[in-house]
């Protein structure tokens, strides 16, 4: 049976078509979820894609988290449905309290669009189940606010519970503990700053994003 992935669209989201293209190329079918509707319909997984929801005004994700669709996403996640927030989507999920921590401005105070190499730290999440711990994946980053930060207690908890799923091999943005992606306690909600959908086509230089999105489709 074909997996259906719901891709959330806020005004200002811009990676929704890319997410659809990537999951479609991996055999799934995609459907856009408009921010004004709280009913997600019949979807098997949810991607909150990148972009600048509500212009990122005030703080990235600060306004988007109040959108009706986020009620639906929270319910879906509470029932164990797989949810992945990519880049701005990660920021939205942290603002909405579905993931711990926050994303600050990059330490260099510049937007960064460049290649990055990620290390898989945990294969126990909906995004990494088909990868192996220690795998190195070449997946680009594209953000201004990607510097992951959280309290010491939270960091310790994330470490103790094996909830840091991806780290940067060469930390580009100052993230605490080189963190590129984390998951929630039940491991079905994952947020990451890098863009796996940008690494799913030979012509784009890397296919390493496919292992992550395949994990999502399989979960």
């Amino acid at each position: 049976m074909t997996v259906t992935v719901g891709v959330v669209v806020f005004p200002g989201t811009n990676c929704e078509a890319d997410a659809l293209e990537a999951v479609t190329s991996l055999g799934a079918q995609g459907r856009l979820l408009w921010h004004g509707e709280s009913d997600l319909g019949d979807v098997d997984a949810v991607i909150v894609p990148g972009g600048f929801a509500h212009g990122d005004y005030l703080r990235p994700g600060a306004i988007a988290r109040f959108s009706p669709v986020m009620e639906g996403v929270a319910k879906f996640a509470a029932k164990g449905g797989p949810v992945v927030g990519i880049c701005n989507g990660f920021q939205v999920l942290t603002e909405a309290g579905l993931l711990p921590g926050a994303l600050q401005k990059n330490k260099g105070l510049k937007f960064l669009c460049q290649p990055s190499v990620l290390r898989v730290e945990s294969a126990n999440s909906v995004l990494t189940s088909q990868a192996k711990v220690g795998d190195e994946l070449s997946i680009p980053i594209n953000h201004f606010e990607g510097n992951y930060t959280c309290s010491e207690e939270t960091l310790k908890q994330l470490q103790d519970e094996d909830r840091i799923v991806l780290t940067y091999v060469d930390n580009p943005n100052g993230s605490l503990g080189n963190i590129a992606g984390v998951c929630n306690e039940t491991r079905n909600v994952v947020g990451l700053m890098p863009h796996p959908e940008r690494a799913c086509h030979e012509l784009l230089g890397s296919m390493d994003g496919a292992v992550l999105l395949r994990s999502l489709l399989a979960s």
Binding site: A22, C113, L203
Partner: protein, 732 residues
């Protein structure tokens, strides 16, 4: 002050008389204000139009040529590409971030006005030298503005150029190119038709933005709070508004709900209303009170000439208005009926549709009757300066080579250049390559679009005609290096003060050089922009025509090799011999900018480009890079620094072989096992070749001339921008 109003508005006495004759009565202040903005150099091209006519603009694949909001060409499979280039030089000089941001916003609107979804931006940028704090402030702000607006609006910035040179101190050049795609059958034009149809203003409320020129009309009451001269002439861009505006407008076009649509740019509503009416051969009544305003107390002339950003004017039939408003509401885009299409051709500004008439002018007169000047031309009498050919050989050629290197990744890593999953070759290479997907179905055509922007003020200062032809030639070769064949040119003509006869001569010569080259390469010019009065402290900038060249990659099955070296590969230099240093980058750094430019042999150039395109398509190369600024030395050094592989070059006669900028030359990086095959292909194409050395090791060596470690070369390449631009800036 007894200065007549028309002069205060920037209109000449003759122009004022002309206006009164058109109206057959004295113009009132609102009417004068509208003529003054529409007949400005910026909107009317009154100094350059007479010369622009000489450019070749036709080809079977051209769907829309110059004069519309963007040029449009057929790229096959039912897809058309819309392309345009513009300048935002002067706003960027005083508020770099917002100047650059609103420049990007403006050109995006030109593209989706044609019914196209914008898919790529390119930014050719030119700043004063890195050792000047204000130039650094401008450079940092401009790059941040492009990043801040382009990334957030969701259109990738996939390339461009960044040049630092003293000629741009105080007057940076911030050019921006936008490419969009549309289904060929959705092409729309910015025109009104159908008497009784409605003009609907979409997007931002109107504020007192960019009305500097007509602020002399402000009533005294306003001045109590704020001096007239302090009124904002700088606009703040809102990429979030623009993103919603793009989506709303494309949704309106998808449902075929608009008769015509027009963006609001220079001269704001005065321009958009008169342009749509005059293109459609109709008139328009505009209710000035209906226009949503950001500030209280705005007067009609302010509302009509405001350049507030992120606004569009759609012409719709009354029956579909409700659906139009519904779509706009979904995207949270404000939509207001502000006008009605009338017959007779008059643009009337009213206070309420049934209220008093504030202005009544023939719509087309704002465009078609704009003045046309044939300004005097004069070739400069003084030579530009000494030629580098007369200079002694450098004592330390290695150090001098390293001084010419500049890695621009500090700039383009701030731009999202990957959105839409199209970018096969991004910024930093000879040209950008994008996958060509259908704009509405997303279907991959298996083909690619190639795009490059190029300019060279040093060549054009020596000889604007030959220099501009060389720039076009370089663009053609840049495309060839990524496997692309040229399709269409857009140009951004950045020049000094047109009232100086030498500047007009430069402009005229540059246009002739461009015509000659475009004809020789069979590429039509489908659009352009002229930016004049680029000067500071009384000095005109060096003439800087910038070319944007769009091409096609007929089969995009693999990534082009790129400007890289591979260990053990042989280096082959293609193309004719060259040795003069006239107009070269090396000469310029030794205060020797003059001399003679190298000659361009069109026939040879076409052969070289065709050969390189074929070699790239056949996957015969390990790397490829055309020679341009800085010659062979800089080309190889860039390749070495990027790939971490050294170079061992055979003996060259002297430094001139390293630094000359002769055209039609390309470095090929060839696997030794393929060398015979590649050389045979070159012979067959009747292109001269020279086997110049080997890509290998960790040193950059030119026998008997220089010997550098790859480490120091790479540091020299990578450090200039981060070091200078992290060093603190000031707006003074």
């Amino acid at each position: 002050m007894n200065e007549p109003l028309h002069r205060a508005l920037g209109l000449t006495d003759d122009e004022a008389v002309n206006i009164d004759e058109i109206l057959d009565r004295p113009a009132n202040p609102l009417e004068l204000a509208m003529y003054s903005v529409m007949w400005s150099e910026h909107c009317s091209y009154k100094s350059s139009r007479i010369h622009l006519k000489r450019l070749p603009t036709e080809a079977p694949w051209v769907l829309v040529g110059p004069g519309e909001n963007a040029g449009v060409v057929d790229v096959g499979d039912g897809i058309a590409a819309a392309i345009r280039i513009e300048s935002h030089n002067h706003p960027s000089a005083i508020e770099p971030y917002q100047g650059a941001a609103t420049g990007a916003g403006g050109i995006l609107r030109d593209i989706f006005t044609m019914g196209a979804r914008p898919i790529a931006l390119m930014d050719p940028l030119r700043f004063g030298p890195l050792d000047d704090p204000r130039s650094r402030w401008i450079a940092e702000g401009v790059v941040a503005g492009i990043s801040g607006y382009g990334n957030a609006v969701g259109v990738p910035t996939v390339g461009g150029e960044t040049v630092f040179d003293a000629t741009y101190k105080g007057n940076p050049l911030v050019n921006v190119l936008c490419l969009g795609l549309l289904p060929t059958d959705r092409l729309v034009l910015g025109q009104a038709s159908g008497v009784g149809n409605l003009a609907v203003l979409l997007g931002n409320a109107t504020g007192r933005d960019g009305i500097g020129g007509v602020s002399v009309l402000a009533s005294a009451g306003f001045s109590e709070e704020d001096d007239g001269d302090k009124r904002p002439s700088v606009q703040v861009g809102d990429p979030y508004e623009e993103k919603r505006l793009i989506e709303a407008c494309l949704a309106l076009l998808d449902e075929k709900l608009v008769v015509g649509i027009q963006d609001l740019g220079g001269a704001g509503l005065a321009c958009a209303t008169s342009e749509t009416a005059s293109r459609g051969g109709v008139g328009m009544d505009v209710d000035v009170t209906a226009i949503p305003r950001r500030e209280p107390g705005m007067e009609p002339h302010e509302v009509m000439t405001s350049e507030s950003q992120e606004r569009m004017l759609a012409i719709v039939e009354p029956e579909v208005l409700a659906r139009v408003l519904e779509i706009c509401a979904r995207w949270e885009v404000q939509a207001t009926v502000i006008g009605r299409v009338t017959d007779g051709g008059a643009l009337r500004i009213l206070e309420g549709f049934e209220g008093p008439v504030l202005a009544d002018i023939p719509a087309s007169s704002l465009h078609d009757l704009a003045p046309l000047y044939e300004r005097p031309l004069k070739a400069p009498e003084e030579p530009l300066g000494p030629s580098a050919d007369q200079l002694a050989a450098p004592v330390d050629p290695g150090a001098e080579l390293m001084d010419l290197l500049q890695d621009l990744s500090w700039v383009y890593s701030q731009y999202d250049h990957q959105l839409f999953l199209n970018t096969v070759v991004g910024p930093g290479d000879d040209a950008t390559v994008l996958r060509l997907k259908h704009p509405t179905t997303g279907e991959d055509t298996g083909r690619g679009l190639a795009l490059t922007t190029d300019g060279n003020h040093r060549w054009c200062a020596v000889d604007p005609r030959a220099g501009t032809a060389l720039v076009v030639a370089e663009s053609v070769l840049n495309l060839a290096c990524v496997g692309g064949r040229p399709l269409a040119v857009v140009n951004c003509l950045n020049f000094g003060n047109p009232e100086h006869p030498e500047v007009m001569w430069q402009l005229s010569e540059a246009i002739d050089g461009m015509s000659e080259a475009c004809l020789a390469f069979d590429v039509p010019v489908v659009g352009g922009n002229v930016s004049l009065y680029n000067e500071s402290a009384g000095n005109d900038i060096a003439p800087t025509p910038v070319i944007g060249l769009l091409g096609l990659v007929d089969e995009l099955s693999h990534r082009p090799p790129g400007a890289v070296l591979k260990e053990g590969h042989r280096l082959v230099l293609l193309g004719p011999e060259a040795e003069g240093l006239g107009g070269s980058l090396w000469g310029a750094t030794h205060d020797a900018p003059g001399g003679d430019l190298p000659a361009l042999d069109y026939e040879m150039h076409r052969r070289v480009a065709a050969l390189v395109r074929q070699l790239v398509a056949d996957q015969m190369l390990g790397g490829v890079h055309d020679l341009s600024s800085g010659g062979l030395g800089v080309a190889l050094a860039e390749m070495a620094a990027r790939s971490g592989v050294g170079v061992s070059l055979a003996r060259t006669p002297d430094h001139r072989a390293l630094f000359n900028e002769g055209p039609s030359r390309v470095v090929l990086v060839v696997d030794p096992e393929r060398l015979t095959e590649v050389l045979a292909a070159c012979d067959e194409a009747e292109v001269p070749t020279a086997r110049i050395g080997l890509a290998t090791g960790q040193r950059f060596v030119v026998k008997d001339l220089l010997d550098l470690s790859l480490e120091e070369l790479t540091a020299a390449f990578k450090s200039p921008l981060p070091e200078a631009l992290g060093a603190g800036t000031t707006n003074r």
